[in-house]
């Protein structure tokens, strides 16, 4: 594939991510912050997000699976963290799932919390997949000598 085509694919892919609600304006802000002095800003932030989220999701699974009774305070704290991270990078669907999760935590509803946990995990893995695809595309573009066309995101 040549660079123009790859760039166009990248633009379409990014647009679709916004359209489908995986990402929101915050992600765009992150992309803004990436410049010559900070070329890998977005990738760094997103990787940190992946690490953080996976850790949190594991913790959550452990806490909720407790037989002796679920410590909802802990669950709430973890979900709060996850919500903060996802909203900071603009992972909108993950963040929304976290919001729902928190309300079940307030009600101390184990069933609902389990369901939400599954949902959050699902969303997370989805967005992770998408972002990894996006980044690999970006790497390919750069490797082929082009530049990532962030300026073409004048829509929404």
């Amino acid at each position: 594939m040549d660079v123009i085509q790859m760039q166009r694919t990248w633009v379409e892919y990014t647009k679709s991510l916004y359209r489908e609600g995986f990402l929101d304006s915050q992600f765009a802000q992150l992309q803004l912050l990436q410049d010559e002095s900070n070329p890998d800003f977005v990738v760094e932030v997103v990787s940190l997000f992946f690490e953080d989220s996976e850790r949190l999701l594991n913790e959550l699974t452990k806490v909720i699976d407790q037989q002796q009774g679920v410590d909802f305070k802990k669950v709430d704290a973890h979900v709060h963290q996850l919500k903060g991270s996802s909203s900071s990078i603009g992972a909108q669907r993950v963040k929304n799932a976290c919001v729902a999760f928190r309300s079940f935590c307030d009600e101390q509803n184990i069933e609902g919390s389990l369901r939400c946990l599954h949902q959050v995990k699902q969303e997370y893995f989805l967005v992770k997949n998408k972002l990894e695809n996006l980044f690999s595309l970006e790497r390919k573009i750069v490797a082929a000598g082009g530049s990532v066309p962030t300026e073409e995101l004048n829509f929404l």
Partner: protein
């Protein structure tokens, strides 16, 4: 025996006489001796006889007389001298005693007679006392009956029981054949048979109230004997030949209103019931006085008992009503609370949901501005940005309805270009107007100052709303907008009698009139125009969308600007003129408009707006921290990041210009407070800014309490961060 010329007694004829004399003397002596014996015997028996001495004397007298006669027995024949002496002595003694007794009796007999008189007198007295005792006893019995009756009557507070008990008890006490109670009907013109003693269910007998016999009974408070043939007494078929006597008495029915605090019940407004009592027929019984008195007393007691019962009924009814009202009020309160909670929940959710797309629009449009655009594109983007800023403000205002309600909304005062504000509004509305083929004209008075100080955004919002309404409700024709400085005479408006504008030196009143040729206003709808959410039902336009908040919000803003807004219309189809007046400050300087579009244009190329600004970021979320740091670095700041409160307090110092604190952290507020107390209070730096994802009032209050200089909503865009920093550095506070 010389003198014995005794003639030979003619014995046979004198002998008979002597014999009889002899016998009589004997019997006299006997009697004379036995009488004192009898006297003594009986006196001894009696013991109360006071005159013993007299008796003794009498006795002596009688004894001596007896002795005399006894001795006489011996003198019939030839007797000796001794007998003669004895006889003489006896006679002398007798004479003495009898004279003494005679003298004594003169004294004694009046005494004896007076004793007798006293005896008679006492007997009379005793008979009188007996009579009186009888009377008292009857009275006491009457009293007892009355007390018992009263007790029975007053032991219940139920009206029917009272009346029935009265009749029963009276019937029993007085052994009546029949006892009946006639109550006045509601109309007051008839008496209806309400209760009887013997008959179980009195049928609706009525009797007109103005019969003479009834008037007679009602006019006196005594029990009155009436004829058994009068209509009130003819209750049952005659049981015997001679109907018993009938008595009737009035029973006053007292109403609550009769009892004034300081008055006694008025006699003129009384209603009475009639109680009729019948003695058994054929019994020859008559009504005694005490029985009548009993009846009267009972009638009065019944009246009192009835009024008590009425008062009780009244108060129970009032209490029941109050309870019902309480329940209803409670329900209403709970419903209101639920409604308020629902509204708050709704607002809280919509708050967030509405802001997100707005942020996206604003952020991306401002991003767009910083790219390469053709002039037309740039104009379009600027219009988009201006509209979305206005929209964002509108959303903020609508969603902060509570702030508007409790008047805590404050105007953003600043200097701005008045003329260009008008022109911008026109430009915004012109496209829509031209689609509807409406001609929009703007006329600014020549003496209208070019610059003014006030809340530009809200003035423009008001203007836009008013003009927008004009456009909305006009299908054709023209919209003309005039703005001028209001003069003193035109300041008072007859429609707004409580509006007293007071012009002063640094202020002037801007008067704006927006006239349209549209559908006008129905005079009936006028009061609801400025009411929230109330829309006129007679709108012909189908797509008159909108929440109905527009004019209500405008009115609030105009009031905040010490002004007044009203609409005038001559009726449906005759167009409408909206007029408002607001107070603006006179200003000389011409600072740039605060609208983000203009400021952004100047800041467009400044990538490093804050070189060397030392900033600390405290956030326990790694990703957040990194993003915020990236933002600040992009703006040229020198950023230190910390992830815990302790670290923050350890490293913070006066060298830092600004510190961003995530207050959603566990000890976020505490750290903010400590920083404020330790450093910001006494020195100029650092300025504290709270980062939070919640925009609700509680968070804002908490932040204010700990003393931060500003609050910023996460997530932050580049522009927002830029404006936050510039505001902070300029004003030391975020507006």
């Amino acid at each position: 025996m010389e003198s014995c010329n005794c003639i030979e007694p003619q014995l046979p004829p004198d002998e008979l006489l002597s014999k009889y004399q002899y016998i009589s003397d004997f019997f006299i002596a006997l009697a004379y001796f036995s009488i004192p014996l009898e006297l003594i015997y009986f006196v001894k028996k009696s013991a109360v006889f006071p005159y013993r001495w007299v008796l003794v004397q009498f006795g002596a007298f009688i004894v001596l007389c007896g002795a005399t006669h006894l001795i006489n027995l011996w003198t019939f024949t030839i007797h000796s001298r001794t007998v003669a002496i004895v006889m003489t002595t006896a006679k002398i003694l007798t004479a003495v005693v009898s004279c003494a007794t005679a003298l004594m009796l003169v004294h004694i007999i009046p005494d004896l007679l007076s004793v007798k008189t006293r005896e008679l007198f006492l007997k009379n007295k005793a008979a009188e006392l007996d009579r009186e005792m009888g009377l008292i006893r009857t009275q006491e019995e009457t009293g007892r009956h009355v007390r018992m009756l009263t007790h029975e009557i007053r032991s219940t507070l139920d009206r029917h029981t009272i009346l029935k008990t009265t009749l029963v008890e009276l019937g029993r006490t007085l052994s009546l054949e029949e006892c009946a109670l006639w109550m006045p009907t509601r109309t007051g013109l008839e008496l209806q048979l309400a209760y009887t003693l013997r008959q179980q269910n009195p049928v609706g007998y009525t009797v007109p109230i103005h019969l003479p016999v009834i008037n007679q009974v009602f006019s006196s408070n005594r029990a009155v004997k009436i004829s058994p043939n009068s209509p009130v007494a003819r209750l049952r078929p005659l049981a015997g030949k001679y109907p018993g006597e009938v008595v009737a008495v009035r029973v006053p029915l007292l109403h609550l209103s009769n009892f004034q605090i300081n008055d006694w019940p008025e006699l003129s407004t009384k209603r009475y019931a009639l109680m009729v009592l019948m003695l058994p027929s054929d019994s020859a019984r008559q009504w005694h006085t005490y029985e009548l008195e009993l009846v009267e007393v009972v009638a009065d007691q019944v009246a009192v008992a009835l009024s008590h019962a009425a008062i009780l009924e009244e108060s129970m009814r009032a209490r029941d009503l109050l309870m019902e009202q309480n329940v209803a009020l409670d329900l209403a309160r709970r419903e209101a609370e639920t409604a308020i909670r629902a509204r708050n929940d709704f607002l809280a959710v919509m708050n967030h949901e509405m802001r997100t797309p707005m942020h996206a629009i604003i952020a991306l449009s401002s991003l767009l501005q910083e790219t390469e655009l053709t002039p037309e594109q740039r104009l379009m983007v600027e219009t988009i940005l201006k509209s979305s800023n206005l929209l964002a403000t509108l959303i903020n205002d609508v969603l902060d309805l509570s702030r508007l309600e409790d008047g805590s909304l404050q105007l953003d005062l600043g200097s701005f270009n008045l003329h260009s504000a008008f022109r911008e509004v026109i430009n915004l509305i012109r496209p829509i107007a031209s689609v509807k083929k409406l001609v929009v004209t703007l006329h600014l008075a020549p003496d209208l100052p070019e610059y003014a100080s006030g809340d530009e955004k809200r003035l423009m919002q008001t203007l836009l709303n008013v003009v927008g309404n004009a456009v909305k409700f006009s299908k054709e024709g023209s919209i003309s907008i005039t703005a001028f400085v209001a003069k003193a005479e035109s300041l008072r408006d007859p429609r707004a009698p409580d509006f007293f504008p007071v012009p002063s030196d640094n202020h002037f009143f801007l008067r704006v009139q927006v006239k349209d040729t549209g559908s006008g206003i129905n005079p009936q709808d006028y009061p609801k125009l400025f009411t929230k959410f109330a829309q006129s039902q007679s709108l012909p336009t189908k797509n008159s969308g909108g929440s109905g908040l527009g004019l209500a919000i405008c009115k609030r803003f105009v009031n905040l600007m010490d002004g007044h807004i009203w609409l005038e219309s001559e009726g449906l189809g005759k167009g409408c003129t909206a007029i408002f007046m607001v107070k603006l400050g006179v200003t000389e300087c011409c600072t740039e408009s605060k609208l983000p579009a203009a400021t952004n244009a100047s800041m467009n190329h400044a990538q490093t707006a804050f070189p060397g600004l030392k900033v600390m970021v405290m956030d326990d979320n790694g990703v957040s921290r990194m993003v915020t740091k990236g933002l600040l670095v992009h703006l040229g700041c020198n950023v230190t990041t910390v992830s815990s409160g302790d670290e923050c307090l350890r490293l913070i110092s006066q060298d830092h210009h600004v510190v961003f604190i995530d207050v959603c952290m566990y000890d976020g507020y505490e750290v903010a407070l400590r920083v404020h107390e330790k450093l910001t209070k006494r020195h100029e730096r650092p300025l504290t800014v709270a980062l939070t994802a919640n925009s609700d009032k509680a968070t804002k209050d908490h932040c204010r309490r700990v003393g931060v200089n500003g609050v910023v909503l996460k997530p932050v865009s580049v522009d927002k961060m830029r404006s936050v920093l510039s505001d902070l550095l300029e004003h030391r506070n975020l507006v």
